[in-house]
């Protein structure tokens, strides 16, 4: 039998190339000028604003922001103690916390920057053929000394992605892992989806994402 190599090479080349394919027209690069100037070391995450009908959205997210931000090289203030401190001082609603003057936050927490998160989607849409659990969140990082916005982003995660092979790469692996975990318990897919959303939103090194902070070996000092 004669083994022909050429078709193999062609096929592999196509796989290899499409695997790395980028978008046809790359969007303009994110303007990191202010973030690079500010060089925040520590981030105060306020309880997220909830624009969804699900009561659990805010704290499901808040419980999962520490890991991506810390692994990106920032000090993240203990989210539970921050929440308790706000409540003990009469700030029981996230909307009130988001209205606090930057100077007051700086005085009490001594944080370089505050992260304001808004939950815009959290929950499951049930349909006849398929149901999808989707979580979407927006975030804004603000310098507490100057009040200027250093970075803003938005991310989403959905159980529907497992059918969408075009996403490719890490996203699919993450989703696949999460989906595996929750097979058999359709009760609460929102919480793991919030975890994926948090990673996509806050982990440094993603397209238009946060930059690495000083505790990361990948931090780039100017």
């Amino acid at each position: 039998m004669k083994f022909s190599i050429k078709p193999w090479i062609a096929a592999l080349a196509i796989i290899a190339l499409t695997g790395c394919a980028t978008q046809k027209t790359p969007p303009p690069p994110y303007d990191y000028t202010l973030l690079k100037e500010s060089k925040p070391r520590s981030i105060l995450v306020l309880p997220p604003l909830n624009q969804t009908p699900e009561v659990r959205a805010s704290y499901s997210m808040l419980a999962q922001v520490t890991q991506p931000l810390s692994e990106s090289g920032y000090y993240v203030f203990p989210v539970s103690l921050v929440d308790e401190t706000l409540k003990e001082n009469g700030v029981s609603e996230a909307s009130d916390a988001h209205q606090l003057p930057a100077a007051k936050l700086l005085e009490i927490f001594g944080a370089d920057a505050a992260l304001y998160i808004t939950m815009t989607q959290y929950g499951t849409v049930f349909r006849v053929l398929d149901s999808a659990t989707t979580v979407t969140a927006e975030a804004k990082l603000v310098d507490l000394k100057t009040g200027s916005t250093l970075w803003a982003g938005k991310a989403s995660a959905s159980t529907a992605e497992q059918q969408n092979q075009q996403q490719g790469g890490l996203a699919v692996l993450l989703i696949a892992a999460v989906v595996k975990q929750i097979i058999g318990s359709v009760t609460d897919q929102s919480h793991p989806m919030a975890g994926v959303t948090s990673q996509r939103l806050l982990k440094a090194g993603r397209v238009d994402g946060l930059l690495y902070g000083p505790r990361s070996p990948l931090y780039v000092p100017n």
Binding site: G19, T66, P78, S80
Partner: protein, 128 residues
Amino acid sequence: MHTRTPRQRLSMSAVALIALAALAALGGCAKPKAPDLYGWNGYEKNLDTYFRGDREALDAQAKLMENDLEKIRSAGKATPPGYRAHLGLLYGKQGDMARFQEHLEAEKQVFPESETFIDFLLRKFKKN
């Protein structure tokens, strides 16, 4: 019975080479994963339990955090930001102010970024 002709042998090694090249090409897309900066264990799960408020008693939550702390240490990992402070909070909520103070001081020592906040909390605690 079955002997490979030199030609077949060549094809086999060529296939192996191509397979290796393909692996390298595919692997080239994925960034090498750097090791985590911290040992996480059940920290975020514990935070979720705390926020839910109805899943587990405070002393059981503290016990879980203590067990994980042992595991993180024996694995030679660093404790993540907020870990000691949250453990302190769990003790404080149970009225154990000595342990509250101890873990908050530990947080401040490992993460000097937290100094203003921790000092604020310790001052407040002393006044009460």
